[in-house]
């Protein structure tokens, strides 16, 4: 299976250097790209920048609960992590254990 990324232009350049050539750069609606990726079944892991993840957080959540693969991983973009962005995994942790753990102060 392949690796893919949904990210902005600069991150795409970086990931290409890392050998991840399948990058989607959203122009209008990132949800469309998500649909496209779920339509292909040769993609194993999708890296998505936090900024885009935030903008489609609801669709992304549904997507993750529905499919086991591709695995979606949120990565920072060139400006670093977003300040108060609750990523999906922290959300899951909170739901399973009841408290927020290990969320470090950034």
């Amino acid at each position: 299976m392949k690796l893919a990324a949904i990210c902005d232009k600069d991150t795409a350049v970086g990931l290409r250097l890392a050998g991840i050539h399948e990058s989607y750069i959203p122009e209008e609606n990132p949800v469309k790209i998500l649909d496209e990726i779920s339509g292909r079944n040769d993609i194993g892991v999708v890296f998505i920048t936090e900024k885009i993840a935030e903008s489609i957080s609801k669709d992304l959540k549904d997507f993750r609960l529905r499919y086991d693969t591709p695995i979606i991983v949120e990565i920072p973009d060139k400006k670093g992590r977003l300040e108060d962005h609750a990523d999906f995994i922290s959300h899951l942790i909170k739901k399973a254990v009841g408290i927020d753990i290990g969320k470090k102060d950034r």
Partner: protein, 214 residues
């Protein structure tokens, strides 16, 4: 709150024995599930710790990598860097395998086909050292990102399983076991009542018979 009893039970001795058996089973199941939940949570904490450590590492590398990338873009121009980025080798394919933690299936990524970073493919003539730094950092990152993906999907499966187990434990603890207790009590009371009735009836008949004799 009134205690609810199981529906459709007849207050008979047979049924009582049956329900007592059910109660021991439910209690056993409850204990086992509780143990499973605790073990899962323990594992979960472990994996979270690993993930946090990893995240920090990945974030650090990302920061350095982007810094070098931006510097390279400043020196060479965005277009050149963009062109060069197409010259890197594709990382290769991955395969999913299944790993098992306490009966929870979590995906494991087989990185056998992943090619280790090689020397940059672009020519050094027209590029700069900053780009090399960036290339090195990003190559380092790709393997780490895969491991992060593996950990995160593990967290996802585990958390779903924990929730399921928690729900089962709660149902047993708060609904089924009290219901069984209440049913046992109800049947015992009914049986006692019947016995008293019987006893009284016998006494009464005896008294009547004696009255007839005289």
């Amino acid at each position: 709150m009134t205690e609810q009893i199981l529906e459709g039970v007849n207050p008979t001795r047979m049924e009582l024995l049956e329900i007592r058996k059910k109660l021991t089973l439910a209690e056993k199941g409850h204990k086992l599930l509780e143990e499973k939940r605790d073990a899962l949570v323990e594992k979960f904490f472990e994996i979270i710790e690993v993930r946090n450590k990893f995240l920090e590492e990945v974030d650090g590398i990302f920061k350095d990598a982007f810094l070098s990338l931006i510097q390279a873009q400043m020196i060479l121009g965005e277009k050149k860097v963009n062109d060069v980025s197409y010259l890197s080798k594709d990382i290769g394919d991955i395969y999913f395998e299944r790993d098992n933690i306490m009966g929870v299936k979590i995906p494991k990524i087989n990185k056998g086909e992943i090619k280790p970073p090689t020397k940059p493919l672009y020519g050094f003539f027209e590029t700069c050292a900053k780009l090399d730094d960036s290339y090195k950092k990003f190559s380092e990152l790709s393997v780490k990102l895969l491991e992060l993906a593996e950990i995160e999907s593990g967290i996802k499966s585990l958390s779903i399983e924990i929730e399921k187990t928690k729900r089962r434990v709660n149902v047993l603890e708060n609904t089924l076991i009290p219901k069984l207790f209440a049913t046992i009590k109800y049947i015992e009371m009914q049986l006692d009542e019947r016995e008293r009735e019987d006893f009284f009836r016998r006494k009464r008949i005896k008294a009547l018979m004696e009255a007839k004799k005289e």
